[in-house]
């Protein structure tokens, strides 16, 4: 065993020194660097999602009860011991008085540490530009919702009466993180300091209020604390953990994740091609080595052990280098994302190291071991006669197994079965098409080469003579170019499409609770003040109570999200036409169809979470009335468009019986915003939600994610170049010998080079044309199905495809051969 290990180690060192393993090594390192950096980054993105979700709670977890929390000091003491921060709040409804005016408000009494996640935003007067602040109002002062101030006519600096206390209004409360994104928290807020609560004498035994303790801290400690608290909490106390972040944020982050995963996936696929190609060449180059080893007494097992051992050494070395590069680049990427990642940097985890080593071994064993395994079958008598060739290297079954292993890695990486399967299938289809086209090229060149000059004849003859190799090169170059072109499409077209999907004037305010009778006057009010005429959507609240007659309480709902969909009231709407930002994924819209039956269309999130099928009869409770509607279509909704969108849209007329209101979204700049004071005075029932903060967060994600994705694309680009290089190297030895022979026969360097250039150019142009077709198709598929963005045909891809095929492949191939021409022909011929 020691002999084998020592021999393996020495063989490895020799192969490293001689450069035999270089391409394999570079391909592996590229794949692993991309994998690990995206892995690290994705985990941080997940933290970001979690953080954003927790902002909605103003904490990481929240314990609340309808009665005072008698054990709260014990809970908080324990939390403090574990290094968690805490804050307590009490919220209740109360009338606020100012002179003769009064208004119902939600009063929140909070300690100064509130909020633990997110920040409050205040302004010096209602609807004026706001700023973020740490902590809440000091004792004796309050911050009030601008609607409250406007309706009561209190200026900032004035006073109001709450119970027995008179408190000073020191700011207009523009935003609090836990105000709710579901447009249900309708009463305006008054935020006071906890120490002022007692003086109001509003809370007595039996008062209706919600007592809450908020907790926040590092996630690993929270997990432990949450488990402890779950055991300790008394009946009637509710522990609330993470909730869904709002749809807009989720949508943007998911799309960013798609971009990142796509680039990692492409890198991995390309690297696999490079690994397979370089391993094949490595195996072919080792045929004589294996025969000689057998000749001097090596057993088949020994050859197998040495080969596998070398691969494992290669995998481990490449993993270490790849992970190190990935880790470093991840720091760079997270620096780019630091503005939106307001989380402490997680300590370096070892997980990506094992993941990458595992991936490296799988890739190598899958793609490199099969051809190398054949080495043990080499007849030793090959040392006497090369006519005794090695058994034909079989790639079919091993590659199938390797592809399955790769598919498993892809799935592990993107956690998206459909995306992984489609990407894998696309590579196979494109690869097969390229091979067939490559074979056709070989046939065509056979026919035309007689008509060409000597160097052209030599070049085209090479394409024809190396039939199989030429076709394989078309596949490799074609795949490499396809990916490079897809990157161009994605990077330029899709990314800018995404960024443009959030124009600078994207709606930043939602107006809800608009009575039907006030829709037109509100529209006039807005237009008169320079606001673009908005679209009003009808809006009713209701709850899904049964599917096909089966009550929701009897129905098994697997996901937390699904549970929330059934527990809470949802926003319902109706529409004649398919709303913009919506795309049907199944079923049909009711345009032109008149039906007596109520019809409903659901968003894909709703359908998937509740496992609904087309044709299901859904029963809703709308203000105590029951409504049954047939599910006729499923929509994919672009939530990050910041326009009113609904999980549930009904056919026209269906909701006529329900007393609904309307909602809309508008864009207001900082000057226009001041007119909101008039708006809430003139339209007292209308509630204004400022989503500027959220919009800014989404924009930040889009911008920063674009930068991060472009950085990750560098790895994919590098992988593409490695594939090109591997493909050129595949025939380098043969080319070296041929050029030496030609030069011996009197051919000039120029003639040999022209011939090589013709050969590579022919292959390159074909690969370029096919790659442009594949990239255009991929671009269309990606934009329509993955990113849900409109597709625009880009003719430049075709020009870039053909030109880069011609120039890149032609030049790279010719340059690679150039170095061969430097060596004296005699030396090359002697080596054989």
């Amino acid at each position: 065993m020691m002999i084998t290990l020592r021999f393996t180690w020495r063989s490895f060192l020799r192969d490293v020194r001689s450069g035999e393993l270089s391409i394999l090594f570079i391909a592996l390192v590229t794949a692993l660097a991309a994998l690990s950096s995206v892995g690290f980054l994705t985990s941080r993105m997940e933290r970001l999602i979690q953080e954003q979700a927790n902002v909605v709670l103003a904490a990481d977890i929240r314990l609340e009860s309808g009665r005072p929390l008698d054990q709260d000091q014990v809970y908080r003491q324990r939390a403090r011991e574990m290094g968690l921060s805490t804050a307590a709040t009490v919220s209740f409804s109360s009338m606020i008085f100012s002179g003769d005016s009064s208004q119902l408000a939600t009063v929140i009494a909070a300690e100064s540490a509130y909020p633990l996640r997110g920040a409050l935003r205040i302004s010096p007067q209602p609807f004026a530009p706001a700023r973020s602040v740490m902590g809440g109002p000091t004792p004796g002062s309050v911050w009030a919702d601008p609607r409250l101030l406007t309706r009561l006519g209190i200026p900032v600096g004035g006073t109001l009466t709450l119970g027995d206390s008179t408190l000073a209004v020191t700011a207009s409360l523009d935003y609090r993180p836990d105000q709710g994104a579901g447009f249900v928290d309708l009463a305006p807020t008054l935020l006071i300091n906890t120490s002022d609560l007692e003086g109001t004498h509003l809370l007595i035994s039996g008062s209706r209020a919600t007592w809450a303790v908020l907790f926040a801290g590092p996630s690993e400690r929270l997990v432990v604390y949450r488990a402890w608290l779950n055991n300790q909490k008394k009946e009637g106390q509710r522990l609330i953990g993470s909730v869904d972040s709002n749809n807009q944020m989720q949508s943007a982050i998911t799309r960013a994740g798609h971009f990142l995963n796509l680039s990692a996936l492409i890198t991995l696929l390309l690297s696999s091609v490079a690994i397979a190609m370089s391993a094949r060449r490595f195996a072919l180059g080792h045929l004589d080595f294996a025969a000689l080893l057998k000749c001097v007494g090596a057993s088949q097992r020994f050859i197998l052990m040495v080969t596998a051992g070398e691969l494992i050494l290669l995998a481990v070395t490449a993993s270490l280098v790849g992970v190190a590069i990935g880790y470093l680049s991840q720091w760079g990427l997270s620096w780019l994302l630091k503005d939106i990642m307001k989380v402490s940097v997680p300590p370096p985890a070892w997980t990506p190291v094992w993941l990458c080593t595992g991936t490296a071994i799988t890739l190598l064993l899958g793609f490199a071991l099969p051809p190398l395994l054949e080495l043990k079958q080499v007849p030793p008598a090959r040392v006497l006669s090369h006519r005794l060739s090695a058994p034909r290297l079989r790639f079919g079954l091993p590659y199938l197994m390797a592809s399955s292993a790769l598919a498993a890695i892809l799935y592990g990486l993107v956690r998206d079965r459909v995306l992984a399967a489609q990407a894998g299938a696309a590579v196979i289809v494109v690869g097969a098409t390229l091979y067939v086209a490559g074979r056709a090229l070989v046939k065509v060149t056979k026919g035309i080469r007689g008509a060409a000059g000597v160097s052209w004849r030599y070049g085209l003859a090479n394409v024809a003579r190396r039939g199989h190799e030429s076709a394989i090169q078309v596949v490799a170059f074609g795949l490499g170019l396809t990916v490079l072109l897809v990157l161009i499409v994605v990077r330029q077209d899709l990314m800018s499409e995404w960024q443009h999907s959030l124009p600078s004037a994207a709606p930043n305010h939602f107006l809800i609770n608009i009575p039907p009778a006030q829709v037109s006057t509100l529209n006039q009010f807005l237009v008169a003040r320079g606001v673009a005429p908005p679209t009003f959507a009808p809006w009713v609240r209701g709850r899904l109570t049964a599917v096909n007659g089966q009550r929701m309480s009897d129905r098994k709902v697997a996901t937390e999200r699904g549970q929330r969909f059934t527990d809470r009231e949802q926003n319902l709407s109706w529409s004649k036409d398919l709303p913009p930002d919506n795309q049907l994924t199944s079923g049909s819209w009711w345009s032109g169809v008149t039906s007596n039956q109520a019809l409903v269309s659901v968003a894909s999130e709703f359908q998937e979470s509740l496992n609904l099928k087309l044709g299901d009869q859904l029963t809703f409770d709308i203000a105590g009335e029951s409504l049954v509607a047939k599910l006729t279509s499923v929509r994919k909704v672009r939530w990050d468009g910041f326009r009113p969108n609904f999980f549930l849209v009904f056919s026209p007329g269906t909701l006529d019986a329900s007393t609904g209101t309307f909602m809309t979204s508008i864009y207001l700049d900082s000057h226009q915003r001041l007119m909101l004071s008039d708006l809430v005075r003139l339209f007292p029932s209308v509630t204004v939600f400022d989503v500027q903060q959220l919009l800014q967060q989404v924009k930040d994600i889009v911008d920063r994610a674009s930068e991060a994705v472009q950085s990750v694309f560098v790895f994919a680009l590098l992988a593409g170049v490695v594939v090109l290089f591997a493909a050129i190297q595949a025939t380098r030895y043969e080319r070296r010998f041929e050029s030496a022979l030609l030069r011996t026969l009197g051919a000039s360097k120029r003639l040999v080079l022209t011939g090589v250039a013709v050969e590579f150019a022919a292959i390159g142009v074909l690969a370029g044309v096919l790659a442009a077709s594949a990239a255009s198709l991929a671009g269309w598929w990606l934009s329509v199905y993955l990113f849900n963005l409109p597709y625009r045909f880009d003719g430049a891809v075709w020009i870039i495809g053909v030109v880069s095929g011609l120039v890149l492949v032609g030049t790279a191939g010719t340059l690679a051969t150039w170095s061969v021409l430097g060596a004296p022909p005699a030396m090359i011929l002697r080596e054989g």
């Binding site: 004589d288 001097v296 007494g297 090596a298 006497l384 006669s385 002697r830």
Partner: protein, 220 residues
């Protein structure tokens, strides 16, 4: 002592025109320390016969006994183990591994055998063939004659009982070839190694104890 015995060996291969007999019913034996030349025109089956005798290939019919062992009873690994213990090779095209230096090429069989003094033995072997100073050179940095001397050092470094040489001077000029032959015969004499030499060269063959002439696969 009988080292190799060939009993009615035949080797057939398939070809587009049907089965092709390359070695046809060949029987002979070789003794320890004997130098035997196998001669014959191109395509007579010399190299195939050598491959069969060394256990690099298996006959279609008949058997080869090597150091008292019937090779047909051994699988490929068994034959490899026998070669590791008893056999050295020298080839017409040297078969040095281009990625290995001269000393690394010589080390190869010693490392396979797990010899602890591998490096010292390899250095001594290179010294014997006069290439001690060039041990760190790669094959491409050596002349044809030097490459063949490295191959000789590799063949002899394990002190084999039998040395198979397939046209060892075929790629060398006369003077260099003569030096290689001198070295071969010197080893044959000093270590009592059985030398099986495949050659076209009648003059070289005549220096062996015995000449086996092959034509169209048959022993004349």
């Amino acid at each position: 002592m009988q080292v190799i015995e060939s009993r009615h060996i035949t080797k057939q291969v398939s070809s587009p025109e049907g089965p092709l007999t390359i070695v046809n019913d060949v029987s002979f034996s070789m003794m320890r320390g004997e130098a035997v030349a196998i001669v014959g025109p191109s395509g007579a089956g010399k190299s195939t016969l050598l491959a069969l005798l060394a256990g690099l290939d298996v006959p279609t019919a008949g058997s080869v006994w090597f150091m008292g062992q019937d090779l047909s009873t051994l699988d490929e690994d068994g034959r490899a183990a026998l070669r590791a213990q008893h056999v050295g090779f020298v080839f017409q095209s040297f078969h040095l591994l281009p990625s290995l230096t001269a000393i690394e090429n010589v080390l190869l069989p010693l490392e396979l055998a797990g010899d602890r003094n591998a490096r010292t033995l390899a250095q001594e072997a290179l010294k014997e063939v006069g290439l001690y100073e060039r041990m760190s050179h790669y094959p491409r940095q050596l002349s044809g004659g030097e490459q063949q001397r490295v191959a000789l050092a590799r063949a002899f470094v394990c002190k084999p009982d039998v040395l198979f040489a397939d046209e060892p001077t075929g790629n060398l000029d006369t003077v260099t070839g003569a030096r290689i032959i001198e070295l071969l015969f010197a080893f044959n004499r000093s270590a009592q190694t059985t030398l099986v030499l495949v050659t076209h060269d009648r003059e070289l063959a005549s220096r062996c104890h015995r000449v086996l002439e092959l034509d169209a696969g048959r022993l004349l």
